[in-house]
């Protein structure tokens, strides 16, 4: 049950983009087209889940015994960078279709603050392996939910007529402000839903 609670929290209550302010750059950059949104979501979720698993394993079995916790920042980001490279190579070679869909977004994910944040927060929250995995997966889904919702909003924005100074990025940010307001309604739901 706790797992479902984690999932719900990550997707709604503590949504990475709309509540935690992480992953803003790809959020604003990619949310224009629906296909890009899906591609980015897939890539992010994929990497987040794998990274959560990998970093948890390394942290628990290597870093803690060697008392290297203070190096988590360095080690985690290197793991993520390596993972992304590795995934890109594997996809390019063995899963061309998937590579075409997700591949171009992969390099951007290394600098996506949300991915590093997930791995660090997993450790902060003392999640076990399964919880970390679910957390990473749900964070990616949450990112996707925000992305897809915002894609719809941006579609509506195409008909908007803001003042000249606001055209483009500023009005998108205002729209993001309003979108984040809607997510504020989810607080408290995870505990009551899933105990």
């Amino acid at each position: 049950m706790k797992l479902l609670g984690i999932m719900f929290t990550m997707i709604f209550t503590d949504n990475y983009v709309l509540v935690k302010f992480l992953g803003i750059c790809p959020f604003l950059g990619v949310s224009k087209k629906f296909d890009s949104c899906l591609g980015m979501t897939g890539a992010v979720t994929f990497v987040m889940t794998l990274a959560s698993a990998a970093t948890w394993a390394i942290y628990t079995y290597i870093m803690v015994p060697l008392e290297l916790e203070y190096l988590s920042t360095i080690i985690f980001i290197l793991v993520i960078a390596a993972l992304v490279q590795f995934v890109e190579i594997v996809l390019k070679k063995y899963m061309k279709g998937l590579y075409n869909a997700l591949g171009i977004y992969l390099p951007l994910i290394t600098t996506n603050c949300a991915v590093l944040a997930v791995t660090l927060l997993n450790v902060d929250n003392n999640y076990n392996f399964l919880e970390s995995l679910v957390d990473g997966f749900a964070a990616g889904i949450g990112f996707g939910v925000a992305l897809i919702l915002f894609c719809g909003v941006r579609k509506a924005l195409e008909h908007a007529k803001p003042p000249k100074a606001f055209e483009g990025l500023p009005i998108t940010l205002v729209a993001a402000a309003l979108t984040s307001m809607t997510f504020m309604g989810f607080t408290g739901m995870a505990e009551k839903l899933f105990g």
Partner: protein, 306 residues
Amino acid sequence: MSNLIVGVSPHIRSKNSTQRIMLDVIIALCPALIASVVIYGFRALLLTVISAAVCVCSEWVWEKGFKKPVTILDLSAVVTGILIAYNVPVGMPIWQLIVADVFAIIVVKMLFGGLGCNFMNPALGGRILMMFSFTSSITTYTYPANGIDALSSATPLAVQPELGWNSFMTLFLGNHGGVLGETCILALLIGAAYLLIRRVIKPWIPLCYLGTLLVCSWAFGAENPVLSLFMGGAVLGAFFMATDYVTSPVTNKGKIIFGVGCGLITAAIRVFGNYAEGVTFSIIIMNLLVPYIDDLTLTKPMGGTK
């Protein structure tokens, strides 16, 4: 040929102008205004009038400032003002109401280009601003009987006491603490009936909303599903806010989806969430999904391609 001058659109003028529609909505909201004055006193009228006035002024100032055509006569700002006022308790400080009005009109509506260009219901945007910025004021419900006692968060919805027939009438007639426009269900329903008769709104959204709310409340294990229909602004939301033309779907199928979605989310937030009411959030969440709903339900014009 160069002597032909084309006038400014619209070229076809119907009796159904925005002003007409908004006027109908204002009329429909009047019974609730009367009820709120009866239950809460003169201040209710004051708040409503000030709210409407501030909204109109904001719109006027913006349009004058940006040299746009002045549209205050379409009365949409008045409607927004009234709806925002209906979302506050009678003791709300006036300056906070004004902040919400300005935010709703300027940020949620005018910044995007005015009526028709906003994707979120302005009145609800204003309400959320108040909920998170002025939380204590908006949850201090003055109980009408004495008009003075302040009961914080002790509306029927928040307390969910053992409700019997007596309470049903209390809820229906609105003789309890709450916010201005949500308490007297009878008055709201009269107004809603007016709108339906005048064909300003179609019944799909409100019916699906309230119906789904009922079913889901029961399914999620709420204490009193039937009575939940009369609480927390569900009626006001279902008939007057969810039906806003700009922010709801175009087709009937879309409206049904919209209504069902709202009902589901409202029930979920009420039963599982921190907030005593879920109406506001459910409507704006569905507002966000309207572009997708429209995409899915709009039929292709004859002979046209996608």
